[in-house]
Point group: none
Chain length 413, copies 2
């Protein structure tokens, strides 16, 4: 079954936002083995949206169109789909009622515009929304189908998983099961990982094994290696995954910190929780980013107590007791780790100090970052990183590298 993706929005064509929705939808389609050979972007123009939808339906079996379901006059996806179907739009009272209810539950008045979101092409059905107000649509066109989903990524993601992908798979009647697993690594570059895994790639190729191995460029979240296996049943596919996962771990296991959606901070949290340890972080260059990523982990309150963002040098001295003259040194960052552990009263202190740029500081080049660790065992230590990129990249890479340093130390025992 062939599916195409259409992203609607003039801001996309003007280059004002990057189209990440198409990428998200593509990944989900690839994960379940649905082919996608064409993707398009089109602006908020009725005739052009209809043209693109018709083009897509002339080549493929289904189209997922995202964007243009909002309550403003630029939002014309509903109208375009109705035009392609050759039918009028009609008001669905039940949808109107639930939109009104969403507004009153938030203590707000619904604007009249929002009622536009209750219009549905005759013959199409609405997909209820749980994260926003705009319902999606499943619009049959002959033996084919158009799915309409919101352009807000948070809303699109949920609707894809709950309603659209399952509906596509049902239409396909495909009995093959696909199981995917993502292995997450840090500490080796993508090309170094590729080199080490090359024999495995060769083996999969020559034995025509029912598994694919692919690298997903992931930047700040670590390097992701995706395994995808296809078999008659989910159980059989899972077995194929386990077999090849073991082979991957044989080669790069020490650099693996987690699977699927596990972030480095979640992996560190698990290790701390297992050992009943609590953590505090002292941040300078990262400026709250480390704490912020940690707090996004569900259940972080069981192992994370808090931290100090000692952005100004004075604050490092008054709140953390740093005495080193130069605060961008191994010595200073160890004092920060010891200081925050004491101030917050945690078992572990983790500290970050460095130069994010754009200018260097004193003798220190942009990208010089020190990470310090204090476990209260009398042997606090620091590590120096030299990171490329701009300020944002340096902050993000410091965060994951620093957490990885702590992870490896905890695993050493």
């Amino acid at each position: 079954m062939r599916v195409e993706i259409v992203a609607v929005g003039t801001e996309l064509l003007l280059g004002q936002i990057v189209d990440t929705n198409s990428t998200m939808i593509s990944q989900r389609l690839a994960d379940v083995g649905l082919d996608c050979f064409f993707q398009a972007k089109v602006g908020d123009n009725l005739e052009r949206i209809k043209l693109v939808l018709r083009d897509a339906l002339s080549r493929s079996d289904a189209v997922i169109v995202c964007g243009g379901l909002g309550p403003t006059q630029d939002d014309i996806t509903r109208e375009a789909i109705a035009g392609v179907m050759g039918v009028p739009l009609e008001m669905h009272e039940d949808i109107a009622e639930s939109i009104k209810a969403i507004f009153s539950s938030r203590g707000r008045t619904m604007s009249q515009n929002n009622l536009l979101q209750a219009m549905v092409p005759v013959g199409a059905s609405a997909i209820t929304q749980v994260r926003g107000t705009a319902p999606g649509l499943i619009a049959p066109v002959g033996r084919k189908v158009i799915y309409a989903a919101p352009g807000v990524p948070y809303e699109l993601s949920e609707m894809l998983d709950r309603a659209i992908i399952p509906d596509l798979l049902e239409r396909q009647g495909d009995k093959a099961s696909i199981v995917s697993r993502v292995i997450r690594c840090w500490g080796l570059s993508e090309s170094a990982l590729a080199e080490r895994l090359d024999p495995l790639f060769q083996e999969i190729d020559s034995t025509k094994a029912p598994i694919t191995l692919a690298f997903l460029a992931s930047g700040i979240e670590g390097i992701k290696v995706r395994l995808s296996a296809r078999a008659d049943t989910k159980e059989a596919a899972s077995q194929v995954i386990s077999r090849y996962e073991a082979k991957v771990l044989e080669v790069i296991g020490d650099h693996v910190f987690g699977y699927d959606d596990t972030t480095m901070e979640a992996a560190v949290g698990e290790l701390l929780l297992e050992r009943s340890l609590t953590l505090a972080v002292a941040e300078s260059v990262t400026g709250g980013l480390v704490a912020s990523r940690i707090v996004a982990v569900p259940g972080a309150s069981r192992w994370f107590r808090g931290g100090v963002v000692s952005y100004d040098t004075e604050v490092k001295r008054t709140l953390l007791g740093v005495v080193a003259d130069d605060v961008i040194t191994a010595q200073a960052v160890i004092e920060m780790a010891i200081g925050v552990r004491s101030a917050i009263k945690s078992d572990v202190g983790l500290a970050f100090s460095g130069v994010g740029g754009p200018e260097g500081v004193g003798d220190h080049a942009v990208g010089t970052v020190f990470v310090g660790v204090d476990l209260g065992d009398g042997a606090p230590f620091a590590h120096e990183l030299k990171l490329p990129g701009d300020r944002e990249r340096i902050r993000q890479f410091s965060t994951i590298s620093g957490l990885d340093l702590l992870r490896r130390r905890i695993l050493k025992g």
Copy 2:
């Protein structure tokens, strides 16, 4: 003149990388006033690339295709263009020589594959490359033209600016200038903003004014209203922008915090800097996110001193002096603001305390967030927010809402 964009690469269709090249090209086209109504992504498949190129030429005057110019067997853009032109490919010796020279200058041996990059469709001309090995192409098709550029963003960017955009403008012979401005708002929903601006939309429509007004869904960055004006000169277009910007401000001015790329945190920073005030933040539910966003603002060290991430309740008491029993109250968040102002020694204290979810805390529902402000004027205050969404959304919306609260207070004087 109408231009379309085609991005070639199977990894794009599998969702393995995000298509940022199209966004980059779009921005350059918009900047010079060239219309772009359609964009497409297609995989490394000869027939499909030709199909997409032909579709584009049937509707528009020019196509810029990026990707597929490398030296591997997946790189077939040259072949596809030759197919659309109906001509064979021929080797250009001079290009082959310069590719060889690039390799030897780096002390490396050229692989035979790289010679593929010296093949040019008969009748097309090569665009020299200065940042990589693959030359681009300018391929006339009747009265229309296909431009081929590398998929490596760094190489694409340079070739666009030096060769492709100028060639397009020359072909167009057009003198029109476009000027855009983005107005950034917070405090009103997108549909409420749309309602208030409706009369202006009507006016622009009926007077056929040379300006467009559009909403960009922006979520955590606030709501963006984009004005775009077209005139004979940049000066004339700027005047049109100023005129309509004034009309927009008349209607929604109190909710406007900045323009173009200014974030809420940058806007607050400017206000603090103007008044020589420094800021410290105390964060619980936001967990470092506020500090992290602030530190991303260039020059933040001139007005931001740091903060405390008081995630655990104990830490609120020991480091910030909070005495209120229930830490999710207006009382407690005011104590946090006063406490962090004192601990960090700043002029302003801003604090956040609330429930991010997924579970509620005591009587407090998910999405209940208190923001506290202390300016050391004896009149600290707090505001209660009720936010929808998941944990991540609640944290991000708290951040921008809390900063906006501080912004409005500072402006009051």
